[in-house]
Amino acid sequence: MPGAFDIGVSALLASQRQLSTTSHNIANINTEGYSRQKVSLVQRPPEFVGAGFLGKGVDVSAITRSADQFLNAQLRNSAAGEARAALFGQMTAQVDAVLSDGTFGPAIERYFSTLQDVNNDPSSAPAREVFLSAAKTLTNRFQDLDARFSVLNESVNQGIARRVTQINSFTSALASLNRDITQALGVGQGQPPNDLLDQRDHLLQEMSRVVSLSTLEQPDGAVSVFIGNGQLLVNGSTSVPLVAIANSLDSARTEVGLTSGGVTTAISDAITNGEFAGLLAFRDEILDPSRNAIGRLAATLSLTMNAQHRAGLDLKGALGGDLFAFGSTTVNGAPSNAGTVTLALDPAALGNLTDSDYRLVHNGTDFILTRLTDGSQQTLSGAGPFAVDGLTITVGSAPAAGDQYLLQPSRYLARGMTTQITDPLKLALANPVKSSADLTNIGSAQIRAPQILDATAAGLLTPAQLVFATPPTSFQINGAGPLIPYTSGANIDLNGWRIQITGTPNAGDTFRIDPNTNGRGDNRNGLALSNLRSTEILVGGTASYQDSYSQLVGRVGARGQQAQISRDALRVQLQNAEASRDAVSAVNLDEEAANLIRFQQAFQAAAQIIQVTNETFNALIQAVR
């Protein structure tokens, strides 16, 4: 009977293994990345007993996990895509919130409405104070927007640095798991170390959320991990750390770098998926263009307002100064550059300004300028200065082949925006000159209010006198010079101003253009300032200040909405991939419960074999006694 006894023992052992594996499955129901395991049984080789082959019981052949590497890879890809879209959407929502927090629109609206209030009452000191405080609020809003963009940029940089650290800890854990797995395969004579494999799959899964990766299984059981376009991060039991480095041209941008052969290069551009890609895309597509658009608006508003304000006369009788100051354009040159370039805004072509950054590279003969938002290139030949997109690029010292620059024309323009006028009396709302007809004039001719053509003309504030000659078909200016033929309504331009005289003058009739001293109630320059509100200056002369802001809000909103939609779609895709993986690998408690019963019954039956064998043996003993 030893045969039956051995068979019973083998069955008991097999059931025990099955029970403990089922327990292991139940125990790990909530362990992330766990793949359910199962015990494979095999009959022992039979014994030939003359009449035939006699079974000898059961053996445990292997304990395997239910895992499908294809499904795991699909899950990793889906996770990387979903993580990219989710982080991109989350960051974009922050810019959206900054832009649509409802403080900028009212600030610019209030700037213009208080300007009209001053225009209604130009000599009122309180109205002037209120306008200046509205102007200050507006500049504060610009600075505040810029500061919030700056914080977002900083959080992108920190996000990159944090994720670099995270990836490094993943890769070193993967490297040590690779070593453990290789060893375990050796020790187990080819039996898979299921739990270690699960851990490794789980680490890869976690890591792919941060950066999309590809794997290659080696014959010794280790996996090699690649990111980007083939950068090797884990090779067997060694890992290569990533580093967070500052962009070589713009230290305010953190990039992902990889050190190879002692040289660290930025590999940000090669990363296409995962949270890294989300952060980088957010920075390139949302944050920088938004910040540039705000900078462009700040500079355009400042320059156009300043130009008009300079064409006015303040309450002290002086021509106006600048109303606003703003930040400066940025040229980031490589340290190795031989030459220098400078960058300035062209006040005559403000409408051509874009919200893009530019790359300027010298190829030995010409500069090649690339607009980064759309990648369009143009060749700048000659010595310059070059006028491109509302910018003036001036070449300083001689360039050499390989010189490269990152031009950020509008990135920091909003940062330094301030109000330049604190004294309400210095608000230049009056026209600098006034016209009048002498009350002794006999003819019926009238003079119109003067327009300012050139506020910088030298003789702008020099009084001028137009006296009609006999016969009154011509007139003379300041009693000297040639007789100028008179046409009713024709433009008369002098000293930077323009007037028209209409009607029938009489000989000797006199018209005067004088500096508008004591024109304290004059608001004509104020009206010209106010007209700028609806003037379409930006975006090629198609958008007013407020239009350009709402365009920005609309654009960021649209990108945010798009990001939400694609995140939702990718989330569904991820859930499907999870479901497919779980269908193969995850634990079902009911199934385990059923198995528990099944294996318990098998165990009980095997125990019965032992008992029966024992009783049979006892019966034999009794018979012999």
């Binding site: 209030d117 304290r520 407020q546 365009q551 909103g557 945010g560």
Partner: protein, 401 residues
């Protein structure tokens, strides 16, 4: 497909969480009344509603400007109306003094009243508004525009510019007229030419019935009728120095025609007496009143003074009538601007209402829809929660005892 325990759990849980998000969304919409919480909810709508907000803000400001412009125009109009009433009174006083039965003392009392009336107009012209600005100073609004010099002449020291207020996109309206236009630039005589007696006249001749007969023939030359003998006169153009007519015979009251105008001379001119005909010039309301005051105070001791008296008072009446006409046309201009303001304000209000409607349509929640959504989603959430508990209760382990 094989379903696993965690899948059952998370599917049920996700269902509950998603529904909670929906409930939260509609709850927020109902609470704030706004459909767009951030631009991503409706990017086009968000940008549009910003634009609409800007335009509505501008319209509101235009409304304020228009009200102010209307107020200021009314202030000017009431000052001008006051001036007209005063001029009317002065006219009556002149007519009163024309009656020769009044003694010189009586006429001087009347003249004193005319002097008071002059001050009245002077004060009206120097009126200030609620912002303490002189309303007739042009844009030199914080300096007194009318002053009297040592000779008693009223001078205008304001400027001839007018402040404009923006009442619609790209449309401005003058908030009044300068003091020069209102009080100073008033033509004297009959508006085209003015007649005068020679300062050294000794006869009783005076000029009457000046009329323009042919405006195209009219020139602004200064002409002079000189009596060379008792009934003979020459007509001389002082501007060109030419003698236009020579040795003409004088008939009392007969029309003299020249230079596109006719005038008549009546009375008995003495030899050497001159009658001047020149282009109309600007004469301020103040000068007109002051001159009338001076003319009516003359003691009529000789027939030539009487002749001069009646000529001057006739001229004063004519000047006052022209001033009234001029003020009337200025009031008409102000009225026209008020009308323009009113129609612009109405247009602005109409546009505001339309824009408000569009903005509300864009931004505001359809409450009925939002509340019914909220109710539906709440129900669904409740159902999902119950289902969650039910499904989680299903386990084979419950039966293993």
């Amino acid at each position: 497909m094989r379903i696993t325990s965690n899948q059952i759990f998370f599917r049920s849980l996700n269902g509950v969480l998603n529904l909670q998000e929906e409930v939260q969304k509609y709850q927020q919409q109902v609470a704030t009344g706004k459909r767009i919480q951030q631009a991503a909810d409706d990017p086009v709508g968000a940008a549009q509603s910003l634009d609409l907000g800007n335009r509505l803000g501008a319209l509101k400001q235009f409304d304020r400007n228009a009200n102010l412009a209307s107020l200021r125009l009314s202030e000017q109009e009431s000052a001008i109306e006051g001036t007209q009433n005063t001029l009317q009174r002065v006219r009556e006083l002149i007519l009163q003094t024309k009656n020769r039965s009044l003694s010189v003392a009586d006429r001087r009392f009347v003249a004193a009243e005319v002097g008071e009336r002059l001050n009245e107009v002077f004060n009206l012209a120097n009126k200030r508004n609620s912002s303490n600005e002189y309303i007739f100073a042009g844009t030199a609004a914080d300096a007194i525009p009318f002053t009297t010099n040592a000779a008693g002449t009223v001078l205008y020291t304001g400027n001839q510019n007018v402040r404009e207020l923006e009442i619609a996109e790209g449309r401005t309206i003058g908030e009044g007229l300068s003091g020069a236009d209102v009080f100073m630039a008033i033509r004297n005589g009959n508006g085209t030419f003015v007649t005068n007696l020679g300062a050294a006249n000794t006869g009783t001749g005076r000029v009457i019935n000046g009329q323009v007969t042919d405006i195209t023939a009219f020139t602004t030359d200064s002409l002079r009728v000189v009596f060379t003998a008792a009934n003979t006169y020459d007509l001389i153009n002082d501007t060109t120095g030419a003698t236009v007519q020579s040795g003409q015979t004088y008939t009392d009251g007969a029309a003299l025609a020249f230079n596109g105008v006719t005038v008549a001379i009546t009375g008995v001119p003495a030899v050497g007496d001159e009658f001047l005909i020149g282009p109309s010039q600007n004469q301020s309301v103040f000068a007109t009143i002051a001159k009338a005051k001076q003319d009516m105070s003359v003691d009529l001791v000789s027939p030539e003074l009487s002749a001069k008296f009646s000529f001057n008072l006739d001229r004063a009446l004519g000047d006052i009538d022209l001033a009234m006409d001029s003020l009337n046309s200025i009031r008409a201009q102000i009225g026209a601007r008020q009308n323009a303001l009113e129609s612009q304000t109405t247009t602005n209000a109409d546009v505001s209402v339309q824009l408000e409607a569009v903005k509300s349509h864009l931004e505001d929640v359809d409450m009925v829809a939002a509340i019914s959504h909220l109710a539906r989603q709440s129900q669904a959430l409740e159902a999902a929660q119950q289902a969650f508990v039910r499904v989680q209760g299903l386990s084979l382990f419950n039966f293993l005892r």
